[in-house]
Amino acid sequence: MSRWQPLWLLLAFGLAAGLNHVARPRAEYALSIGERTMTTGTLWLETAGRREEFKLVTIHVVAEDVPRVLADPLVVRSLWLRSAEQDGAAPDLELFVDFTGDAAAIAPGSRDVAQLRGRELALLAAAAGGDARSRVRFRGDEMPSLVTEGHLVITEALPLGDRSQGWRVRGRVQFSVGEEDRPTALTGELDARLVW
């Protein structure tokens, strides 16, 4: 073994890590300042006899196909639920719901909420094609609790005019937070505006 071989080994590890970071597919999760702060809905969560209300901003649909190296593109079909930001601080609640399902993926430009109604949509621990995590911070907690699993069912979707105005949706949500060995189950109801 020459003196250069350990160096080459380290370089190989660095190359692998760097390549993994660079090659990660990224979907666009972006909201304007108005969209992040303007409240259009409400989410009520109940846990251990305690009910807490979160003011939600408009629910956005993130639907796109992100290309990958030597693989099929990453299909991102997500509902992005987010509480309103206050004073520039991070939102207290942020959930990512995947509606891809087992069936064929819904076309990104279909803009049909009827396909989501009545389905049990899985909550994602992390955003598909993004770094954000699903979390919730109750009032009085310093740190948010990470969502491990859960689902969302849209029970009602009322269009607000044309498709550009979005829908008024209602539904139920159930998810677990905390560590996996001692999860905390949360249930709640939502009434919010959805835009696709």
């Binding site: 080459w8 080994l9 692998a16 993994n20 660079v22 090659a23 990660r24 693989a71």
Partner: protein, 461 residues
């Protein structure tokens, strides 16, 4: 020695400072009664200088010839191209030696033949010759008996050129320029430049075919050099002299000869020596009269050496220095006689003055490069430039030993493992290429990349 039959009437012309300073002309002294028999024999030895060929006919050689004999370019070029040719007639031994040296240095093959003219020289110089002004000899160049073409006559430099004035009798003077020019014009188209065989006494000059020259090749047309002013020849000589026309082929075929010359062919065949035999040429005993002062005082009108260009001195200065000071310097070639004729026919250089200034150099003491062929010696100096430093040579890497089979197998295994890892990562969608690899997968992929590099390096010879 090559001495021809002794002639009791041999005449030597000597210039003395006294006579020159008083009259400005040379004084002819009849030294017959004052000279010993040996001295007379030396005085009677005259040589014709034949240039058989020039080894170098390049422009540089022509330039060297120009410088050596103060020729114009046209004459020098034609002299180079029209060999064999006689460049000097009846030259005294020392003059012949000097000319031989110069010509050899110019790359010429020279043959010295004893001149039969001196043997047949019938009479001493006439008083008219003594009365001839020294500076009138303006048609010889650097001691060569060459005749300028008509267009070049006006370019003769009297200050540089001398001639054998003491040997030129009035009968040998050229005809009037009108006749001469017409002949030159008519013949210049045919044979161009002509060279004189009879610079001394054309009327007594036997034609070459009559001489038993043996191996000497046919010579070109020869003509008397008009070194002297155009004085009318004596009436008795006009019949034979007027056809100076020996330049004409017809006249050469049947040259008019005085009765005295008819007997010349009876002379024994003279030996012919090529230029390579120059060192064995006859070295004459010290002459009865030798002095550089003669050369200086005999031609007071000639330009002093200080006024001459230093660009042209090479051969002329060598000749003059040798002719004036050979005996005094006492070199290995033995003493040489300074003949007044040679002093007149060679470029005059104040050797004594140059010696005082330290400028005079013996040609035999010059460095070898000065004795190089004229082409090399007179070529423009090439500036010596330091050789550019070459960049240091790169050490040639030692050839790599061939790759052993074991190393090759290891390399192939490393490559294979790396490829397997990459394939599995992609297959399981846990690959760094997808950007979704776990930490373990990243480490494995790191090893795979290392294996790729090691395998490629191992397969490289």
């Amino acid at each position: 020695m090559w001495g021809g039959p002794s002639t009791p009437h041999a005449c030597v012309t000597i210039e003395t400072p006294a006579s020159t300073s008083r009259t400005g002309r040379r004084t002819v002294l009849d030294r017959d009664s004052h000279m010993s028999a040996e001295e007379l024999a030396h005085q009677q030895e005259r040589f014709d200088i034949h240039v058989m060929a020039f080894g170098d006919r390049s422009p540089a050689a022509a330039e060297a010839l120009q410088r050596a004999f103060a020729l114009d370019e046209h004459t020098a070029t034609r002299l180079l191209s029209e060999t064999p040719v006689v460049v000097k007639r009846a030259a005294p031994p020392d003059v012949a030696n000097e000319l031989l040296d110069v010509l050899i240095r110019l790359g010429a093959q020279v043959v010295l033949l004893p001149s039969a003219a001196r043997a047949a020289e019938p009479a001493r110089e006439s008083p008219a010759d003594a009365a001839r002004p020294v500076t009138s000899n303006a048609s010889a160049w650097g001691g060569l008996d060459l005749q300028l073409p008509p267009h070049a006559r006006a370019t003769v430099r009297p200050g540089v050129i001398g001639c054998d004035a003491e040997q030129s009798s009035p009968a040998s003077l050229p005809p009037p320029s009108s006749v001469f020019d017409s002949e030159l014009d008519s013949e210049s188209e045919r044979d161009g430049l002509e060279f004189d065989l009879g610079a001394d006494d054309p009327q007594t000059e036997p034609p070459l075919p009559d001489l038993a020259l043996g191996e000497v090749p046919p010579l070109p047309a020869l003509q008397s050099l008009g070194a002297a002013p155009p004085l009318p020849p004596p009436p008795a000589m006009r019949a034979s002299q007027r056809p100076v026309a020996p330049r004409s082929p017809l006249m050469q075929a049947a040259p008019p000869q005085p009765p005295a010359m008819r007997a010349v062919p009876a002379l024994p065949p003279p030996p012919v020596r090529m230029s390579q035999a120059a060192p064995s040429l006859p070295r004459l005993s010290p002459p009865p009269v030798r002095s550089a002062a003669i050369a200086r005082t005999a031609l007071p009108s000639l330009a002093p050496p200080s006024s001459r260009s230093r660009a042209q001195p090479s051969a002329a200065s060598v000749r003059a220095a040798a002719a004036a000071g050979k005996g005094q310097h006492g070199n290995s070639r033995g003493p040489r006689m300074l003949d007044p004729g040679s002093a007149m026919s060679l470029p005059k250089i104040d050797v004594a003055a140059r010696e005082r200034r330290g400028e005079h150099r013996d040609p035999r003491l010059e460095p070898p490069e000065m004795l190089a062929p004229p082409t090399a010696r007179l070529s423009p100096p090439v500036p010596l430039t330091p050789a550019p430093e070459l960049p240091p040579r790169k050490p040639v890497p030692a050839p790599r030993p061939p790759v052993s089979a074991r190393s090759r197998a290891i390399a192939v295994l490393e490559l294979g493992a790396a490829l397997v890892v990459l394939y599995l990562g992609l297959r399981m969608d846990d690959s760094v290429l997808h950007g979704n690899a776990s930490l373990l997968s990243v480490a494995v992929h790191g090893l795979a990349f290392y294996g790729l590099g090691a395998g490629l390096a191992g397969l490289r010879p």
